[in-house]
């Protein structure tokens, strides 16, 4: 579909500037691309390669390693139901089957209206609140089938728009390092001396 837009290129350059080597920004920039288009496009990966000094194949290689990056359109809401031990002990399988029946899709599928993608996820780090799920990486704890019905209805009706941003937006708040406070990243090759507070303390 598209390369990164102008605003995102500016943002991308700010992110790249924080790292001693530009390639380190690859994953954050992939998130930026996914936020822009809802998934990571080939054009965006080629563009990211240009920005960080990698080939598009290298960017693809990195991107495909990670669970969160999608390479084709997914639903506006990605519903991840955890199925690892703690959640399985507390009824995660029943919850997943309930979701499949309610949405009329199997895990991994997307509803025809493009609203929901359902996935069986691995441990989401909310094990004492089992069974848990995430919608676009926002938690729901101790979910009963009735809770799930309510959640899906609320999402479809747009009642949770403020709380759950569309798929691709990971964090609503981003780090911004003010220019007047930043120490700045320097390539590792150009540093050989210890930091000043170490050398002065040694005197």
């Amino acid at each position: 579909m598209s390369r990164l837009n102008e605003a995102n290129v500016l943002h991308a350059k700010e992110i790249i500037g924080r790292y001693p080597k530009a390639r380190s920004a690859t994953i954050p920039l992939l998130h930026l691309a996914q936020q822009q288009d809802g998934y990571v496009t080939n054009e965006a990966m080629a563009h990211i390669g240009e920005l960080v000094g990698a080939t598009s194949a290298e960017v693809l290689g990195t991107a495909t390693f990670y669970e969160m990056f999608k390479f084709e359109p997914v639903g506006k809401y990605l519903v991840n139901i955890c199925g690892t031990l703690s959640c399985a002990l507390m009824g995660a399988d029943e919850l997943l089957h309930h979701a499949e029946a309610k949405l009329g899709i199997k895990a991994g599928g997307t509803t025809d209206d493009g609203l929901f993608t359902l996935e069986r996820a691995e441990c989401q780090a909310a094990c004492t609140e089992a069974p848990c799920l995430q919608v676009n990486y926002r938690y729901r704890f101790k979910v009963t089938p009735a809770d799930l019905d309510q959640l899906l209805d609320d999402l479809a009706a747009g009642r949770l728009d403020g709380e759950v941003p569309p798929h691709g937006t990971v964090a609503k708040v981003r780090q911004h390092i003010p220019a007047n406070k930043a120490v700045g990243a320097v390539p590792p090759e150009s540093v050989t001396a210890p930091p000043v507070w170490i050398s002065e303390a040694a005197k």
């Binding site: 390639r23 690859t26 691995e122 004492t128 780090q175 507070w197």
Partner: protein, 466 residues
């Protein structure tokens, strides 16, 4: 249930010392205002008033054990960086994904300034040039809370150039992960931070302290480990080691999940607290749900060999848990009552590790998937004795020799001590086999009961010749 509606999962209301969770009781414990009102950044000020070497010595004296899983003392780890080689980096491991574990997520969501202060103290003491805070991608709220805290701390002069008017300067960069369990392994974390596929590097030579991020000396510390530092610098190593035991000082966070009455995250005294206290104690989980029988529990996250009720009186002390056949790992306890279908639950863990194998080492890449397929067959009631033998054989390929397991009086077996041998670079491979081994060793009858029953069908020859 949690008393604190704003911190789901956090259940601690005991009268034990709180080193890292002291601000969880406030609904705004993550704000700079609350942090400063409750003694925040006093540890940094105390550190800046001393030389880096003195701060490092204080941390060494406290012997804070790494809380990521391996339990290596943080002060010693810092000291492994080669003399005179710069720049050095700090990489904070916030890619918490071990099944059962979520202390780090709560620390980042509920008290991000404490983590930031810990990063600053570590950077000051070890002479680090830049700090990268790697947070698991799926933890959206943790990323937002840490980003907000970083922005506040930069504005207030706690991070950046000439911190609090001294010659100490450092940037802390928030880095987003994107979903991969193996990235919690320190060398894979570094690969990922360099913009690559998160596959572990071979040690030696790639010990991060010597050859880490960009080939430079790098300290990789867990979120909880660093969160201990502000308290330590204010109260001193003597106060820290006064809590817990000599070999396991201080407190540690644990998450107890599964079939208990009050599952939750607790900060416990290290070294002395026993599993029985945690699972049955009124201050903790209050027993098994519906007063059921305890069948088994996992003492240290999905990668740890399972324990039986007979191991309940062991304390949180690596020196005792190791010989008993398991590890404390990341402090996640998963409890299974007598209604649990052991092979089916072992399968959920096998599926996790098979899914998360990065594919670098063949025994894990192939073995993990094989284990999963065979376990699926067994759980579905289509397995044979040959399948069970095959599971053990695959286990021998991934982790040759005796795999650790608990003692069982009922089965008449003695404990096989930790650790194990492995043919893979990192622990994901053995972890995939771990649940299979524990389940097969401790509950062999449950597997036998699931095997396919062959019924003899009488055969009568019918044909042209008859």
């Amino acid at each position: 249930m949690s008393r604190y509606t704003w911190a789901p999962g956090y259940c601690d209301d005991g009268d034990r010392p709180q080193i890292v969770t002291s601000r969880f009781k406030y609904d705004d414990g993550y704000s700079l205002e609350r942090y400063l009102a409750t003694g925040g950044y006093a540890g940094l000020k105390a550190a800046l008033g001393r030389t880096p070497t003195e701060v490092h010595d204080e941390v060494k004296a406290a012997t804070i054990l790494g809380r990521g899983g391996a339990g290596f003392p943080a002060g010693t780890k810092w000291g492994l960086t080669p003399q005179g080689v710069f720049p050095r980096y700090l990489v904070v491991n916030g890619d918490e994904s071990e099944p059962g574990t979520y202390k780090d997520r709560l620390l980042m969501e509920r008290d991000p300034h404490q983590l930031i202060e810990g990063c600053l103290i570590a950077s000051y003491a070890a002479g680090l040039s830049q700090c990268f805070l790697y947070i698991r991608g799926e933890m959206a709220l943790a990323q937002e809370r840490v980003a907000t805290a970083l922005n506040e701390a930069y504005a207030a002069g706690y991070i950046g150039k000439n911190i609090l008017g001294t010659n100490f300067s450092i940037d802390i960069v928030l880095h987003w992960g994107a979903g991969a369990y193996v990235v919690g392994e320190e060398t894979a974390l570094i690969e990922s931070l360099e913009g690559n596929r998160g596959m572990p590097r071979l040690k030696p030579p790639y010990f991060p302290a010597a050859i880490g991020l960009y080939g430079q000396p790098t300290i990789v510390n867990n979120v909880e480990t660093l969160s201990n530092l502000p308290w330590l610098l204010v109260n001193g190593a003597a106060a820290y080691t006064a809590i817990g035991t000599e070999t396991s000082p201080g407190t540690r966070m644990i998450a107890v999940s599964g079939h208990v009455k009050r599952p939750g995250v607790y900060e416990i005294i290290n070294g002395t607290t026993t599993f029985r206290e945690v699972i049955y104690g009124e201050q903790f989980c209050g027993g098994i749900r519906d007063d059921n029988e305890l069948k088994a529990f996992i003492p240290g996250g999905g990668s740890a060999p399972w324990f039986l009720p007979e191991q309940l009186d062991l304390p949180f002390e690596a020196k005792m848990v190791g010989p008993a056949g398991s590890m404390l790992g990341s402090g996640a306890i998963m409890v299974m009552d007598h209604t649990t279908d052991i092979p089916a639950m072992a399968l959920t863990l096998v599926r996790f590790y098979a899914h998360e194998s990065c594919g670098k080492c063949v025994p894990c890449r192939e073995g993990g998937t094989w284990l999963m397929r065979i376990m699926e067959r067994v759980v579905a009631g289509r397995g044979t004795q040959r399948d069970l033998d095959q599971l053990l054989e695959i286990g021998q390929t991934i982790t040759p020799g005796q795999y650790p397991h608990a003692a069982s009086e009922r089965l008449g077996i003695a404990a096989a001590p930790f650790p194990f041998k492995m043919t893979t670079i990192c622990f994901v491979g053995p972890s995939a086999y771990n649940a299979v081994d524990s389940a097969l060793t401790l509950f062999p009858d449950e597997f036998q009961a699931k095997l396919m029953k062959r019924t003899s069908i009488p055969v009568t020859a019918v044909g042209a010749g008859s």
